[in-house]
């Protein structure tokens, strides 16, 4: 499987269940994934037609690697991956893929939660929403 990091939309093939299973150490009993998808409803409940995701690549890749390493260590995981995509996205398209695997769901559950909270808070990535009414806005800006 590819290294964790920032990828252009479409640059990376989404891993299949078989891809995942073939890479797992034999003491893995639980795999959990999170896929973040572009929602139809954006800021202030405005109807979204699409998003732009921009990233400070070098910095975000460094942060992603840190988060994965630290979570793997903290929860004794066999695998921790974060893929964050950038570019232009339509509603329903995937923006982020997080994968964690470990011996038991007692490890993978908090690990997945922490991975998501951390990438949302720490990654140098920005989102601009484009609305059905023709307006656009940088979120958080």
């Amino acid at each position: 499987m590819l290294d964790s990091g920032i990828y252009n939309k479409g640059e990376m093939d989404m891993p299949s269940v078989d891809d995942l299973l073939s890479e797992l150490p034999k003491d893995s009993g639980a795999i959990m994934t999170f896929i973040g998808v572009v929602k139809e409803v954006g800021k202030d409940d405005k109807k979204v037609i699409g998003l732009e995701i921009e990233s400070y690549d070098e910095y975000a890749n460094f942060t992603i690697k840190n988060i994965c390493d630290e979570i793997k260590e903290k929860y004794g995981l066999s695998l921790a991956k974060i893929y964050h995509f950038k570019g232009s996205f339509k509603v329903g398209e995937p923006l982020v893929l997080v994968i964690v695997a470990g011996r038991h769901r007692k490890q993978t559950f908090p690990a997945l939660q922490e991975a998501i909270e951390r990438y949302k808070k720490e990654l140098a990535v920005w989102k601009k929403e484009f609305y059905v009414d023709g307006s656009e806005e940088w979120i958080g800006g």
Binding site: E54, H84, Y119, K121, E122, W126, W138, I139, G141
Partner: protein, 92 residues
């Protein structure tokens, strides 16, 4: 000395570009650089509060280190530095 400035998110649009190379005199601080860059009322208002302090939601990195954990806006700039001006992150 030459430094590079990177703008992200809303700042990319406000400052009119992703990246700028700037020639500065030696001894410039981050604060001086920001003063130089914020050359309109709109930009000053986005970056500084009324008492002239950097707004909390603006993050300045120097060579991928938070200036907040260096000497803040009184971090000195050096030849070849890459300074990044970041709005709050909003991952997907």
């Amino acid at each position: 000395m030459k430094i590079k400035v990177k703008f992200f998110g809303v700042f990319r649009e406000l400052f009119g570009g992703r990246e700028r190379e700037i020639e500065l005199e030696n001894g410039f601080y981050v604060r001086d650089l920001l003063d130089l860059l914020c050359d309109s009322y709109e930009l000053r208002e986005k970056v500084f509060d009324k008492s002239g302090r950097l707004k909390d939601y603006v993050t300045i990195l120097k060579n991928r280190s938070y200036t907040q954990s260096l000497k803040g806006v009184w971090t000195e700039l050096e030849e070849g530095d890459v300074v990044a001006i970041l709005p709050p992150v909003t991952g997907g």
